[in-house]
Amino acid sequence: MKSIASNISSWFTSLLKVWRREFRLVFSDVGVMLFFFFLPLIYPLIYTLIYNTENVKDIPIVVVDESRTPESRTLSRMLDATEGIKVFDYASNLRDARTMMNEHECYGILQIPGDYAKKIGRGTQSVATFYSDMGLLLRYRSFVSALTDVQLALGTDIQQKELALIGLPAQSVSGAPVNSQAIMLGDPTQGFASFIIPGILVLIIQQSMVLGVTMLIGGHKERRRRNGGVDPLAVKASPSATILGKMLCYVTIYIPILFYIINIVPEIFTLPHIGELGDYIIFLIPLLIASAFFGMTLGVLVKERESSMMVVVFTSVVFLFLSGLTWPRYAMNWLWTAVSDIIPVTWGVEGFIRLNSNGSTLHEQSFSWMMLWILSGAYMILAYLVTRFDYKRKLQPQSVKN
């Protein structure tokens, strides 16, 4: 009985020792500090600055006006006045306009046919044609919304005049018999930064931690290789105490970073930020734990300090996609849904966006939260197995090849 108690207490002491030692290792390693502090500090700022102009405005287009009437000029003026479009120039024919587009001077061509005004006067539908460069979908999106708005506004205007001419009381069909109103939830300005940054923030938390953790493991393996299989800086502890102690160290370091990333960064740039701070922290703590164990598991692929970057860096892009931020998860097939299910950040991004931008409560995100805890458990077991396997393996000092 006594031996069990002493075993437990010695396990705890070793855990605390690992915790303390890991702190020293982190703070004496510039490379790891770069990942743990510099990267989460700077990346969110750079990313937000890239997208901080939010909306795509005043895209240059060229007008080919074959009608040359007050009506056709009204159309181009109205387009010019929209948020999305700027009339950059007029061209005398479609060929010239096309050349300007090829020279990348404009991204759209509006062709107003010769009978444009005549048809309006006659009371038949007149059709103008817009050619859009499809180099970027966001430009096209701005074009479409501007064109639709102008078409509706112009249409209503002409309709009213025509009806007055016919002699119908305009009241009976005043504009539209039904109004419609669009309300954008979560990102009311439809800005690009407001949409993408909350997700990127969570991704940065996981990836910076995984980078740091794998680099520490790489350094540990290098030291073992140099010292005949023993790491002089390691604390003697069982695998379970080692992984738990390390995890505690990383999570402690990341709590202030978490606060900065999820609370201060959105405030700096006035991004959508309507959730409760307490909810964010409670929600993301299992993400920190899961990321720490995820990093330790990935450590099996890393043999030296610097190769951690080769292994981890490109996964950021994959994880970003798997999280469903750009390509929604409902449209993935079963394989990719399953793969994204086992990445902690998927659940972190999903839940955090809804807490942060949609003002959801923690209770409504209980499924994501539970998944984060399940993944923490799963990666803890994997990290344990990996560490135990690694303890048993003898690392030979590597000979320098010539």
Binding site: I183, F192, N358
Partner: protein
Amino acid sequence: MRGCRELLSRRIYLVCLVAVPVLFTLFFINMMDSGLPLKVPTAVVDLDQSSLSRQITRNLASSELVSIDQKLESYHEAVDMVRKGDIFGFFMIPENFQRDAIGGRTPTITYYCNMTVFVPGTLSFKGFKTTAVTTAGGLVQTTLVNAGLPESTAGSLISPVSIQQNAIGNPWMNYNYYLTNSFVPGLIELIVMLVAAFSICDEIKRHTSRQTLRASGGSILVAIFGKLLPQTIIAIAVGVLCQSLMFGFNHFPLNNHLSHIIIAMALMVIAAQAFAVTVCCAIPNLRMALSICSLVGILAFSIAAFSYPVEQMYPSIGIFSYILPVRYYFLIYIDQALNGIPIYFSRFYYIALLVFPLVALIGLPRLKKHYLNPVYVP
């Protein structure tokens, strides 16, 4: 020949250079094979329950953009479902809608789209807006015909002006054409830079750089060239393989000659290597060089403006897009493959890619000094 042996001796190089880009291409193509995530899960909140409101619901359900998964009773229920993430938007028909619409009291249809996820938000917005506008149009037509106008006049009165929109090169609005064609070269650039920087600076870490220089007869140019050439060949081969997966097997638009885009890929690989060499010349430290290459490589996905246009960014940020090889590759792709315009209009992009190796040449003497006196900083 040293480069070849080194390349083969370390598994990490081959895995990174070959397996990752190819798997990545397959991942993208497979994940987004539908082109657009149509049938966004949405809901209808029908507070009217009249024949007209049911008609609108049926119209919505027949749209390819949205799928009406739920018919809900109240606004609160719908907002809760948005927060839970079950639906990306909902369409609300107010009480007494039919009565007010016919009686000329102008009821208001409201639709809500969750823009925290851009693509489904935008698609649901488009689907809802179309339905709202056509509903209004239909009602106007009915009123006009009732007032005694001939049906054809009433029809043209509903939309007297129409602007026909032609999406040149991508009339299907296929999202995949952009994502795969920007992220795959972006990834190839990232990996080529990392592998090049790793192989150059690893020599300094392991103190083998002097032997390398001796083998090349003291010429740093020969040493670096010999080291990188096998990587160049493999990376270009892999790049072309990825292109063949996209343009060949999956019939992505390629409206100009195949060689234009292959040359662009080859030049981009060389430019990326040159970029890595430049970084190594400036900071001949394995960890820092790799950090900078990954920083640049990862930020390239955003700054190179695959989705958000450069001219809209702050100029002080947007200017960085000009130092990224993949930016020029993407512009060449848009011009040559998607739009298929004469290569003359893309000339500057090709020239820009050729500038990168020249810059690298300037830095080489500095690298030679470090190769002669290798110092490893952990």
